[in-house]
């Protein structure tokens, strides 16, 4: 760079702000992870290294139960959301232009715009009404709410992928005697897979993570890992919570890393 070239690095305090920001972002997490390996019961005093809190977490029947519920819910909701998001993306990019198209984008992306707490309360009232009418109190409500909430997150990568696909490919397939259904399954869908996988993963992480929606929709005994943790924190906090949070963090990191790897190699 030229001697007098403009660089944001030269702004006074830029380096300091950067360091502070990253510290704020990561130091609390580092401390949380650090104390998950504490031999003692304290969050502040280091008593030596131990895996006892991980052991405790694994032994805890309730933790196992809510973890499995969380994973099952995330997988189910993300699957539904991915299918629906794929259809929505196809409809909005392959159906030709239609009146109200911009409106449709806005409607699909509702969960990105409406405050989560508002959606939560609305769902609470809505679901309560249905529960009274039908008496059904199963997981269906959580699945439906999580699915709706995950759709825009799944929709975005799928649509982005679809927009980079040359429509001439589908035309070429039709020209080479493929019926519309054959063209979809042999050309569009395979080329869409990276977007679909990315959409699923994003939806999965979002469902795994959401607290507010779950809190308002769940019936008794339907705690997910985040709502369970929230409930525990109201009582005593032992490093067992740190251990669970660390494992949760590791899982999210793995999925997000996979997401980036998949979206990066999507050129193929």
């Amino acid at each position: 760079m030229a001697e007098k070239g403009y660089s944001v690095r030269r702004l006074p305090g830029f380096g300091l702000i950067a360091v502070l920001t990253f510290t704020m972002l990561y130091l609390p997490i580092v401390i949380l992870v650090f104390f998950s390996f504490n031999a003692g019961p304290s969050q502040a005093v280091w008593d030596g290294f131990s895996l006892q809190w991980y052991e405790a977490a694994f032994q805890n029947r309730q933790v196992r139960e809510v973890s499995i519920r969380s994973l099952w819910l995330a997988a189910t909701a993300a699957s539904f959301a991915t299918v629906l998001a794929t259809l929505a993306a196809l409809g909005t990019t392959r159906g030709g232009r239609f009146p109200g198209q911009t409106m449709i984008y806005a409607l699909i992306n509702q969960p990105l715009m409406v405050p989560e707490i508002v959606t939560g309360i609305a769902l609470l009232i809505f679901v309560a009404a249905i529960k009274v009418q039908t008496g059904y109190t199963g997981m269906g409500y959580l699945v439906a709410a999580h699915t709706a909430f995950c759709i825009p997150f799944a929709y975005l990568p799928i649509r982005a992928r679809l927009e980079t696909l040359d429509p001439a490919l589908e035309a070429a397939a039709a020209d080479l005697y493929a019926s519309p259904v054959q063209a979809f399954f042999s050309i569009t869908l395979p080329l869409l897979v990276p977007g679909i996988v990315a959409g699923f993963m994003l939806g999965f992480v979002i469902s795994l993570d959401t607290v507010v929606i779950t809190e308002f929709v769940k019936s008794a005994g339907q705690d997910t890992l985040p709502t369970y943790m929230l409930g525990q924190l109201r009582r005593t906090v032992t490093p067992e919570m740190n251990a669970i949070a660390t494992l949760f963090l590791a899982l999210s990191l793995i999925i997000v890393t996979a997401f980036f790897l998949i979206t990066r190699t999507r050129g193929r």
């Binding site: 040359d166 001439a168 490919l169 035309a171 070429a172 397939a173 039709a174 020209d175 080479l176 005697y177 493929a178 019926s179 054959q182 042999s186 050309i187 395979p190 080329l191 050129g267 193929r268």
Partner: protein
Amino acid sequence: MDARVQDTTVKGEIDITGVNKVFGQGAAAFHALTDIDLSIATGEFFTLLGPSGCGKTTLLRVIAGFEQPSSGSLRINGAEVAGLGPNRRPVNTVFQSYALFPHMTVAQNIGFGLKMLGKPRREIEATAAEMLRLVRMEALAERRPAELSGGQQQRVALARALAPRPRVLLLDEPLSALDLKLRKEMQSELKRLQTETGITFVFVTHDQEEALTMSDRVAVMSAGRILQMGRPTEIYNAPVNRFVADFIGETNFLVLPVAQTEGDAAHLTLPGGKRAQALLPDGMLPVTGADVTAVIRPEQATIVEPDAGDMTATVDSAVFFGTDTHLHLTLSDGQPFVLRRQNRPGQQPPEPGTALGLSLAPGALRVLED
């Protein structure tokens, strides 16, 4: 493809009558194709030539089935195909962007059409191998399109379109993305493929030289209409109007008074007073004394002694082109004239200001409908 009703008045492989294509409606309506009448014979190399936006791609898309004509009839091998989608027409397209399937190997790309037609695997593999041989790509069968050069992708696109043995191959400016040398190579390659397979080619280009060198027949299009259709020599030597004359090759336009008419020829008064015979277009009967526009190609005049020729001219400039030299001249009445002279060893271009005589080749002068 299907044994649809065979018409007894079959003229050719493709018969287009009165086809119009209008995009949009009402005030925004745009006439992309107007009254297209066209008949292409089996095994013909037929070229659609015209400037950008004249409707070449639209016509090709109508033939392929990607667009339905607003009116008119389109027959392929005698069967009306109106309303049939592209997957139900015995026609394949080589797309300008190639549109190779990126997730398939070269061999899978080539076999795709046959697979969709439900052919057995052995046949698909055999045909794919044959096509690879035809386009000289045997070694690259297992590559993906992203691992090929532009010229190689072009060959795969050709092989893929040829593999199902269509009756007609449509090619939309297939060579425009290639550099000059590769382009020349692919031109003869295309010609060879067409001769070897005997498939009817409908080729789109806006490059007049490409059209003239490759085609059996050319249709010159402008603003959604076909202006002239004929063999390259006909189009070049006898353009029907100013647009065609201007678009195909270089030409001189001279405004000259009519001295006398007889049959399909007229005598025009050249600058300087001498007369020359010029061919008239069909049905044109100009009034004696009226001005008409006549065309003459730059290579159809030769230099003679100043007073020996049909006209006299002075040299403005000379541009050397290797095989020949273009002389920019001014005729005695002030009209510009370009003359192309083949270069001979030791010959020097004339100095600017030199006076020359010009002799016109017999039959070179043609009157245009304006």
